[in-house]
């Protein structure tokens, strides 16, 4: 008995990208999550983003921890290497993987439990190192897989299914990321593909740690009245402060922007983000004011979304380490081993 079914054709259209691949080639195994789970919408957005970005699937490494959310990597890009690690420890796996090979695309999928409780330390320190990866938190305010306990992202007053309100201060992934040195910090909603897909693309193109916190309702344990992570609550309180459009390298800009409100940001790979401010008084390039803005608006119950902070100049882990361009795992052994003569010579110092 094996219950893994083949990928289901969710994209009957056969549109191909420049690699000759269809969207179906970016799909994965059939989801085993609950029908309606926000996580599955994120999967769909990821598939679309990868397809449109025209990434060769096998050049992507998908990483995760443990949780319903952490199962996501099994549901997209079945032609990629994936690693489902242990609970809360995906960031360290990503760090090591990236250290070994700098030229793959790393996407990590985690949950609010996985990243903010057991994994908080690793999450924070991966950001400190400005590890080059897209890190998605599928944030539902609960532990789905263990059946609905509050997670650290549950808001004060948000009610459990049995009606008991959470009383502990939430740990907000976005504020944490800004405080810990994340160089690309965004929030979105699983129900808003429009906003989500360009953010995924931009996060992937960003050279450094891109955090994408996605409110992703748990229909089974946290989608009721009184929950502040339900579909309804999120829709009602969704506040977009910036809108980011993503334009891949060397693509003609077709959309016309009203100059004043739009800020183009060119990334390392030549792609551009066109950042449109929706909240006038919001400045996504200023850490302290951005975080004060988000904090005060969230205190009012708003779900502040968009590309919230970005610094495309911060050196990533390899830049800080001064690692050579050719991935370490591909270095020829002759480059790594100084050989017998050198060994003989260096031992003079031990006499």
């Amino acid at each position: 008995m094996s219950y893994i079914s083949k990928p289901v054709a969710r994209h009957p259209g056969q549109k191909k990208n420049s690699l000759g691949l269809t969207a179906r080639d970016y799909e994965g195994g059939m989801s085993t999550l609950c029908a309606g789970c926000g996580h599955d919408s994120i999967t769909a957005a990821l598939i679309q983003a990868f397809f449109e970005l025209e990434v060769p699937p096998h050049r992507v490494a998908k990483l995760s921890g443990i949780g319903c959310s952490s199962k996501t990597p099994a549901y997209f890009l079945s032609a990629s290497h994936g690693l489902n690690s242990v609970h809360g420890r995906m960031p360290s796996i990503a760090t090591g993987a990236n250290a070994a090979c700098s030229d793959l695309t790393y996407v990590g999928i985690s949950g609010d439990g996985d990243s903010l409780s057991i994994g908080l330390g690793q999450f924070a320190h991966a950001m400190r190192r400005n590890l080059n990866m897209l890190y998605i938190i599928e944030n539902n305010g609960v532990y789905g897989l263990t059946k609905g306990q509050f997670s650290a992202s549950a808001d004060i007053g948000s009610k459990s299914k049995r009606g008991v309100p959470n009383r502990f201060e939430p740990i907000d992934p976005v504020l944490t990321a800004i405080a810990m040195g994340g160089s690309f910090v965004a929030r979105s909603f699983s129900g808003d593909k429009q906003q989500l897909v360009p953010l995924i693309k931009a996060g992937m193109a960003h050279k450094g740690f891109a955090l994408l916190d996605i409110i992703s309702p748990c229909v089974t344990f946290n989608d009721h009245d009184g929950s502040t992570k339900s579909y309804k609550y999120t829709r009602d309180n969704f506040t977009e402060v910036t809108h980011a459009d993503f334009v891949p390298p060397a693509q003609e800009i077709t959309i016309k922007y009203d100059q004043g409100s739009v800020q183009p940001v060119t990334l390392h790979d030549g792609s551009r983000i066109y950042l449109r401010k929706i909240a006038e008084d919001y400045d996504p390039s200023d850490r302290s004011s951005a975080s004060a803005y988000i904090q005060s608006h969230q205190e009012k119950g708003e779900v502040v979304t968009g590309l919230l902070y970005m610094n495309s100049d911060a050196p990533d882990m390899h830049a800080t380490n001064q690692t050579v361009a050719t991935p370490l795992r591909d270095q020829d052994y002759s480059v790594l081993c100084p050989g017998a003569d050198a060994l003989k010579a260096l031992q003079h110092g031990y006499r």
Binding site: P57, V86, R89, S92, A100, C101, G121, H318, Y333
Partner: protein
């Protein structure tokens, strides 16, 4: 009935000549710069061609507490502590009483006679040699810091005279040491001379306890095990090192980093062909190693007991997903924080079985720094060949003390054994890649690396999986994988380093030891032989055990197993993982935190053998 102990004559009277066979111990205060003076002393002897061993006993703090340095001069090349103290340099007022008490009868004690000595602590059977170090240094040097440092150098000078050392060697060493600051050489030499002159003038130099040039160390080096292991990691081609600082393993990564800076960093561009990551903790460090290994780099982490405890969950993950990882456990005294600056072999069982569920791990047990080098390289080969975590269990004694050992050799023909990794070409050829198929029957399956070829794509998971690599909760499919892991572990037993055996036909009793106990055991066996007790010897170098281990035990009547832990952990492993009769195994356990010495083994073995004879 006290005699005037500090007499010129006394020095020569008490016992016969002890040429190149004695122990000098130096009692200092942590952080007073004594380490470099003491190193000068030991290296001088070493450069005179005389074998030595040197051990540091230091507290778990940074400054101000007692610390000792023990140099054993041994013409026979014994590396273990001897258990005696022939010359004590007692520079620490706080431990003075203990230090006096520790001198072996007939020995010497050198002290700072700048202040009146405590007569109550005098001993009849020890010769007290007072030198007014502080007084002279105060007169001679200006700054407080220099005075403190030069006091140390001055007693070295006195020892040059007392032990008949070659002052030219001392000067040569100082010149090398201060190559970048040549002005410091005359300063130091001034202090050396002060001590030398004082000793020549006031004592009957040299003492019967003394050094005479030999010529047996020219192919030898003095190196600590962490340095050797760090060097081994570089030679093995490791490119990713992740760690969290912890005594006594810290210097291993420092060494790797230092060697890589020297040999793998472009001096012009600064570009590095390696990446060392100081992780936020050990859970993260092992995760990084696993991530890097998954991606095809040779990666390792050095740590000590508490780190392994913290890594336990991830170790099981690597075991079950079959990813290589090299872990150095430089053991210190447990349980818990224990004594971080003392040595033990207390993690043997933990490393062999770390993590929940059914798990077994490959372990290597280097006996000395030399072997730290070779077994480090081997560890990477085994980890990749067997696709599993490999532990190198060194300890504080090996890792942090400089041992004299033969110059390290390297064979330029060596190529890393990367194990069964399918490259793009191989993947291109096969129909479909299944991660956990045991094609060769040795329990080892082929793996693929991310990004190399679309056909190699595969989802690694610590949850139940079948031989195809797919998720499963099916009992048979799960069990099939688990049983293959047992098969793989059998294969491991045939590829790990064999035990080292010293045996003679007709000998019925034997000793087994491993790791840092080796040197003391070998010395003990020599001494037992002198006393007419012949024992064979097997030194375990790896777990799982090769067949030779079981055969050796079966071939003997009684087997003493020497260990540096309370619970006879290697005896446990032997009992569980070989077919031998456990009643044959007699544990000899030494676990107070100081390195093992031969006498302990001699006494225990002979007591047992005599008891048996008289029974």
């Amino acid at each position: 009935m006290k005699q005037p102990a500090i007499s010129k004559q006394a020095a020569n009277n008490q016992m016969g000549l002890q040429l190149n066979d004695f122990v000098i111990k130096l009692a200092n205060v942590n952080g007073t710069g004594s380490a470099s003076a003491n190193g000068l002393l030991s290296k001088t002897i070493f450069r005179m061609g005389v074998p030595i061993s040197a051990k540091n006993f230091f507290p778990s703090n940074i400054q101000g507490l007692p610390t000792w340095y023990e140099v054993r001069v041994s013409k026979d090349g014994y590396q273990a502590r001897s258990g005696r103290v022939d010359v004590m340099v007692a520079m620490n007022a706080e431990t003075y009483a203990d230090d006096v008490a520790e001198v072996s009868a007939g020995g010497y004690l050198l002290y700072d006679s700048s202040w009146p000595m405590n007569k109550e602590l005098l001993r009849d059977d020890v010769t007290f040699l007072g030198i007014p170090l502080a007084k002279h240094c105060a007169a001679e040097f200006d700054s407080a810091r220099v005075r403190i440092l030069m006091k140390n150098v001055m007693y070295v000078g006195a020892l040059v005279a007392l032990l008949d050392l070659d002052i030219a060697v001392v000067e040569g060493l100082l010149e090398e040491q201060f190559a970048a600051k040549p002005k410091l050489v005359p300063l130091n030499m001034r202090a050396v001379k002060m001590g030398y002159d004082y000793a020549m003038e006031h004592f009957n130099c040299p003492l019967p306890v003394r050094v005479a040039r030999m010529d047996v160390t020219h192919n030898q080096i003095m190196m600590d095990g962490n340095t050797a292991a760090g060097l081994g990691c570089m030679y093995a081609g490791a490119t990713v090192g992740a760690w969290y600082p912890i005594t006594p393993s810290t210097s291993l990564m420092d060494a790797f980093d230092g060697f890589c800076q020297r040999f793998r960093q472009d001096p012009e561009t600064g570009e590095k062909h390696y990446c060392v990551i100081q992780a936020e903790d050990e859970l993260s460090a092992i995760g990084m190693v696993i991530g890097a290994s998954w991606n095809g780099a040779r990666a390792f982490t050095p740590t000590s007991g508490p780190g392994i405890s913290l890594m336990s969950e991830f170790i099981g993950f690597a075991y079950f997903t079959e990813l290589p990882a090299v872990l150095f456990d430089v053991q210190r005294v447990g349980p818990s924080t224990g004594m971080p600056t003392r040595t033990q072999q207390g993690d043997v069982m933990m490393c062999a079985y770390a993590s929940h569920g059914d798990t077994k791990h490959v372990c290597l047990y280097p006996a000395d720094p030399e072997e730290c080098f070779y077994l480090s390289v081997k560890a990477f080969d085994l980890a990749e060949q067997l696709q599993t975590p490999v532990f190198v269990l060194s300890d504080l004694d090996i890792g942090m003390n400089e041992w004299q050992c033969p110059e390290l050799q390297w064979d330029d023909a060596y190529q890393p054994n990367r194990g069964k990794v399918l490259d793009a070409e191989a993947l291109d050829k096969i129909e479909r890649f299944y991660r956990y198929m045991d094609i060769d029957g040795d329990g080892i399956c082929a793996r693929s690396l991310p990004g190399v070829h679309p056909k190699g794509a595969f989802f690694t998971r610590g949850s139940g999986h079948n031989k195809y690599g797919a998720y499963t909760e099916d009992p048979d499919q799960y069990q099939e994988v688990l049983d293959r892991l047992t098969r793989k572990f059998k294969t491991a037993a045939s590829v790990v380093p064999e035990a080292v055996i010293h045996q003679q036909n007709g000998v019925t009793d034997a000793v087994i030891a491993y790791g840092s106990s080796d040197c003391a055991v070998r010395e003990a066996l020599d001494r037992l032989k002198e006393q007419g007790m012949h024992l064979n010897y097997l030194r375990i170098r790896a777990f799982p055990f090769g067949e030779e281990v079981e055969a050796f035990i079966n071939a003997h009547q009684g087997v003493f197993v020497v260990e540096q832990n309370r619970d006879a952990q290697m005896v446990s492993l032997l009992t569980l993982e070989t077919g031998v009769d456990k009643n044959k195994l007699v544990p000899l356990l030494h676990y107070g935190g100081f390195p093992l010495y031969a006498e302990f083994v001699v006494n225990q073995v002979s007591a047992h053998l005599n008891k048996r004879k008289n029974a």
